[in-house]
């Protein structure tokens, strides 16, 4: 429903500059003279003690200004504050120990980025590796490796909540249905990466930072505290344009702290632009979570209680604002359902993975994956239609405003109407017929449903629900969410608006211009809106920024309030000049006039500029209409109650999705055939932008459902370091989408709008998962599906996966870069000759592929410098080789450990030498190896082949040294052929 005659379809004011290459993104802006460029050396290990950092060679490189480490940072700055009381220190750069792959270890500052990266390769770090822990549930085990010794375990917090009478409801339940799910790590990965440009002024002891940070500005005090300055000595500015964020650019803040300290230490402006490998490996990730969810259910499928047990994996550090992902949905744990009884156990656990933070949907995808998978399971186990189970449990139309068990107030809605409208207009019946027909032909076709409540405008107090009531009382109450907007009228009566929402493409400037233009009867194109934020001069609060879909509901409302106040003052001035009453004044076509006599009109610009030119003529009691800042928070956003009730968000939109998915019988690819999404997001301020938000979130959710995962190997190696390994969907992967709307305006927001930006990131992954589970059901029964539903994973759920052909090993399931293999080579020399070669450092130097020199440290230990290429990554490694279990000249065990700027490797192999009876030797070998660091992140798919090639080269060289043409087995011979023998 249009409101206020907004220009709902107006073209975006943002677009023309962006379309013509005139955007003002971070890296498009000029840098001050003397700026030095940073490159960051990062840990290749998931868990290790740093025993030495040698920076001399890097410092000596021409063009390098400084090489700084954790020790240097600690000399001028402090750890980052943690949101809940924990005895851990969260540093933005490693202090003596690394806890995840990609953790910063050193920073090089140089004349340009190319030189800085050269110098990074010259830093020599020695590590003592420690056992890592990657799985959140294993991290809770008594014997798990501990990340933070000060804590004694990996458990960051353990809170229990109870609302209503869950014990009674479970005792009386006809059925108890339970589901255990894992939600994976993923990220909405903006195409523009992080950027920071920072300066230190030693005289005022202040920092001036430009960064594409997205807010929330509750992080500003965290940065200021880390840099040991008061808030007014940290000026944080954002560029006018930002290339997407989706929550992710909240996570730039540790780098703001780190690089600002570098600027202070070197007394130079410092600039850093994150590269894609850094972004994927170590920027920020959504949390992965293990959830066991139980429901008390009546015989008719009515849910009377829920019991959540959640283990939230926040990665290696609890980084602000975490554990917010776990608590953002705390008021919404029963979704769109009328469930009065609720029990919750929330645990936070640390593992050797990248710290987590904001990501579109923020807690919603995790909750709805558990809740909506459970609702489908209830229907299956009770033999009910999932449509009826969902509908019968919905909050009823007359119940609004509705208070949820855990304390949220759902502001408005008509869920049944939206639900029924979607079934009808989205042709649900036809979809069911299609499924039945497909199944009759033996095809794998399923239907999934999701209902969801999409919260928006987060209560800044919700995070304190993570504290006990006693801790909250001690820490002081937190609540509310201030939105700020400033409208300025200049001496010619033209208007500039400053917004606090830090947009990254959502079109906030267009909507703000439309709101202000409507209030003043002007053309939207005449209004200038500034989105670049400057904490040094703009109005802002901790709630400023672009998150929790707060713009339409809150920031836009503040714009309207400010415009309304100026309008009243201008109307009063016009009334005095026209000799009329202020309430009879109207605005239109650039004029201010008397409603009953439009001829009696004044130019808007003339009246509006009166404050500048003739303040003496203003009517008594009317302030000059030159600048108005509106600061608005909803009174409904109260602090958590004594009973842990929390109104975690202000607005609650409704979503109902359903889809049909078919699984390809040969490739096992899941193809979304038909997808309908129904939204009630209150008043729509701009139709095109609302559709854009829905389509964008949907596309990201399809990626999360079917393709994307920040995958780690068991040893903590990160496996998704390129956009080929982290497969963001292209146009070919995004199915058609039918979008439907109903509208119940929010009574709590100035414009009746609710957030709409995150809903499909919450609803779509589980909707597709439910459809896949339904498609699998006839063949496989109940399947606990896990995202992403890749073809390999779907194949693992199907019962009759054909056995691989004879002689072909079963491929390892899922991603992985552990290497193992075995083979034989035949060399025309006696075992003793071979043995002597293997024990001789000089001979080994000629045999090991890529070796520059081999040093014999002891009779059984060698050190080699080796250059190896794996796929796109060619680098130099220092390799330590040890020989053990020596049984001359029959067999030996070789253990190797390699390290270099591009990664690490560790492995062992057994070599046996057997006389072939005619003077030669059959060399048998088997090996197990694992690699980490960059080479694992970007070359994972190529490693197996590369290892076989290197081994082939080794035996070929060994054969040549032994004075005989090599006769390795077929595959190795072919590979030697491919690579042309030695290089």
């Amino acid at each position: 429903m249009p409101k206020d005659g907004l220009h709902q379809t107006m073209l975006r004011v943002e677009d023309a500059p962006l379309l013509t290459g005139r955007g003002q993104f971070f890296d498009d802006l000029p840098t001050p003279h003397g700026t030095v460029h940073a490159a960051i050396l990062r840990s290749p290990h998931a868990h290790a003690k740093i025993t030495d950092i040698s920076t001399d060679a890097a410092r000596r490189l021409a063009g390098v200004h400084a090489v700084l480490t954790g020790e240097d940072y600690a000399s001028v700055a402090s750890p980052l504050m943690v949101g809940v009381k924990l005895p851990i220190e969260c540093w933005p750069i490693a202090q003596n120990k690394v806890r995840y792959v990609g953790e910063p270890v050193a920073v090089v500052l140089a004349d340009d980025r190319y030189i800085a990266e050269d110098a990074v390769d010259l830093i020599d770090v020695s590590y003592d590796t420690l056992a890592p822990v990657i799985d959140p549930l294993k991290a809770l085990a008594d014997d798990a490796p501990v990340l933070h010794d000060e804590m004694g375990s990996n458990l960051g917090a353990d809170r229990y909540f109870s609302y209503g009478d869950p014990d009674g409801a479970f005792a009386e339940a006809d059925h108890v249905v339970e589901i255990s799910v894992r939600y994976p790590r993923n990220s909405c990965t903006p195409i523009e990466t992080y950027g920071v440009l920072t300066r230190w002024d030693p005289h005022t002891r202040s920092y001036d930072v430009l960064s594409n940070f997205q807010g929330p500005f509750s992080i500003h005090p965290v940065i200021a505290r880390a840099l040991n300055v008061p808030g007014n000595r940290l000026r944080l500015r954002t560029p006018e344009d930002s290339g997407g964020s989706f929550g992710i650019k909240q996570g730039v803040f540790p780098y703001i702290a780190l690089l600002s300290a570098c600027a202070r230490l070197t007394d130079r402006p410092v600039k850093w632009v994150e590269d894609r490998l850094e972004h994927l490996t170590a920027s920020v990730s959504a949390t992965n979570r293990a959830i066991t969810l139980r429901a008390a259910v009546t015989a008719k499928g009515r849910v009377t209680a829920l019991d959540y047990d959640q283990v939230e994996d926040v990665g290696a550090y609890l980084r602000a604002p975490e554990p917010a992902t776990l608590y953002r949905m705390h008021g919404n744990l029963c979704g769109a359902y009328d469930i009065a009884n609720l029990r919750v156990r929330n645990r936070i656990v640390m593992t050797n993975k990248t710290p987590t933070g904001l990501n579109r949907g923020f807690g919603g995808p995790q909750i709805y994956f558990a809740l909506e998978r459970l609702m489908q399971r209830i229907a299956v186990e009770l033999g009910l239609d999932p449509v009826n189970v969902a509908r019968d449990n919905l909050i009823s139309s007359g119940a609004f405003p509705y208070r949820t068990a855990s304390g949220a107030t759902y502001d408005s809605g008509d869920y049944q109407n939206a639900f029924d409208t979607a079934l009808k207009d989205g042709r649900y019946d036809a979809l069911c017929q299609k499924r039945d027909a497909a199944r009759a032909q033996g095809r794998l076709y399923g239907i999934g449903l999701t209902v969801a409540v999409e919260p928006s405008v987060s209560n800044m107090g919700y995070l304190s629900t993570a504290l006990t009531p006693a801790e909250r009382a001690k820490a002081g109450q937190k609540n509310g969410a201030q939105s700020c907007a400033t409208i300025a009228i200049d001496p010619v009566g033209s208007i500039t608006v400053q917004i606090d929402s830090v947009p990254q493409g959502q079109g906030h400037k267009t909507v703000a211009a439309s709101i202000v233009a409507e209030r003043f009867g002007l053309e939207p194109g005449a209004i200038t809106v500034v989105a670049a934020m400057d904490t040094g001069k703009d109005a802002w609060s901790i709630a400023a920024g672009n998150y929790s879909s707060r713009f339409a509901a809150a920031s836009a409302g503040a714009v309207r309030i400010a415009a309304g106040r100026l309008r009243e003052r201008i109307a009063a001035i016009a009334a005095s000049q026209l000799d009329a009453r202020p309430e009879d004044i109207e605005f239109g076509n650039g004029k201010v006039f008397i409603a009953s006599n439009p001829e009696a009109a004044l130019a808007f610009a003339r009246v509006a500029s009166t404050g500048h030119w003739a303040p003496g003529t203003l009517p008594e009691g009317i302030a000059a209409p030159m600048r108005e800042t509106a600061i608005w928070t909803a009174p409904e956003l109260t602090a958590p109650t004594e009973e842990d009730g929390i109104n975690s968000s202000l607005c609650h939109a409704f979503i109902f999705d359903f889809c049909g998915v078919e699984i390809d019988p040969v490739t096992h690819e899941a193809r979304v055939d038909h997808y309908v999404t129904m939204h009630d997001c209150g008043t729509i301020l701009h139709e095109g932008m609302v559709e854009g938000q829905i389509r964008g979130a949907f596309a990201q959710a399809v990626g999360a459902a079917l393709y994307e995962e920040y995958a780690y190997d068991d040893d903590g190696a990160f496996l998704a370091g390129t956009l080929a390994d982290y497969p963001v969907p292209t146009v070919h992967e995004i199915p058609d989408l039918t979008i439907l709307h109903t509208c119940t305006p929010s009574p709590l927001t100035p414009l009746g709008a609710k957030g709409v930006g995150e809903g499909n990131c919450m609803s779509t992954p589980v909707c597709i998962a439910n459809a896949v589970a339904d498609a699998l059901a006839p063949a496989s029964g109940n399947v606990d599906v896990t995202l992403p539903l890749s073809p390999a994973r779907i194949a693992s759920y199907l019962p009759d996966e054909p056995a691989p052909p004879e002689g072909i090993a079963q491929p390892r399931p899922g991603p992985g870069k552990g290497l193992s293999g075995q083979g034989e080579a035949h060399v025309g020399a006696a075992p003793q000759e071979i043995w002597d070669l293997l024990m001789d450092a000089d001979q080994l130097a000629a045999i090991i592929p890529g070796a520059h020199g081999v040093k014999r440290l002891s009779p059984t230990h060698f050190l080699a410098d080796v250059t190896l290429g794996v796929g796109p990554v060619k680098g130099r490694y220092r390799v330590q080789v040890g020989l053990s279990d020596l049984d001359a000249p029959n067999n030996a065990t070789l253990t190797g450990k390699a390290g270099g700027a591009l990664g690490t490797g560790e492995g062992s192999g057994r070599v046996t030498l057997t006389p072939d009876g005619s003077g030669g030797t059959v060399i048998g070998y088997s090996y197990d190896a694992a690699v980490g660091g960059k080479v694992a992140s970007v070359g994972g798919r190529l490693l197996d082949g590369a290892a076989k090639i290197v081994i082939g080269q080794f035996f070929a060289a060994l054969g040549r040294r032994a004075g005989d043409a090599p006769q390795p087995d077929g595959i190795i011979a072919r590979m030697c052929g491919w690579i042309g023998g030695r290089r």
Partner: protein, 169 residues
Amino acid sequence: MRRLTATERHPVRFTLNGKPAEGTAHPRMLLSDFLRGVQGATGTHVGCEHGVCGACTVRIDGAMARSCLTFAVQIEGAEIDTVEALAPAPARLSVLQDAFRKHHALQCGFCTPGILMSLDTLLATESQADAERIRDVLSGHLCRCTGYQPIVAAALDAAQTLREETDNA
């Protein structure tokens, strides 16, 4: 081919958006960095530096190319077109750019310059390009904001307009 010394800057003379241009670059400098940092043509964006996202796409001698996978010294003597050249005049938009605005085919606009370069090249060379062909070309680009559908709609609309303009000419 020229033999270049790794440690020295080498002159690069080329045509940028129809005008003669020159600068110097070390042999390892990427064309994307050269265009943005040396030439000041910041409309071309860098999203991944490994050739997947397509944000850095430019036209080299009439063909689409990833500027992040091209060295600056390779463009000696070449004609380079970037997003800055697409509009017919400073305050106007091309047919394709205008269609993007009309169909909300961009949000943050960071990937947009590369997509415009590819689709502009397509429409210039294949006036009959249909939805399937447009999707084929678009699949060389990643966009995280729009879900792609509005981009396809904009390209189809622009193709239609361009055909009508040609028919009426």
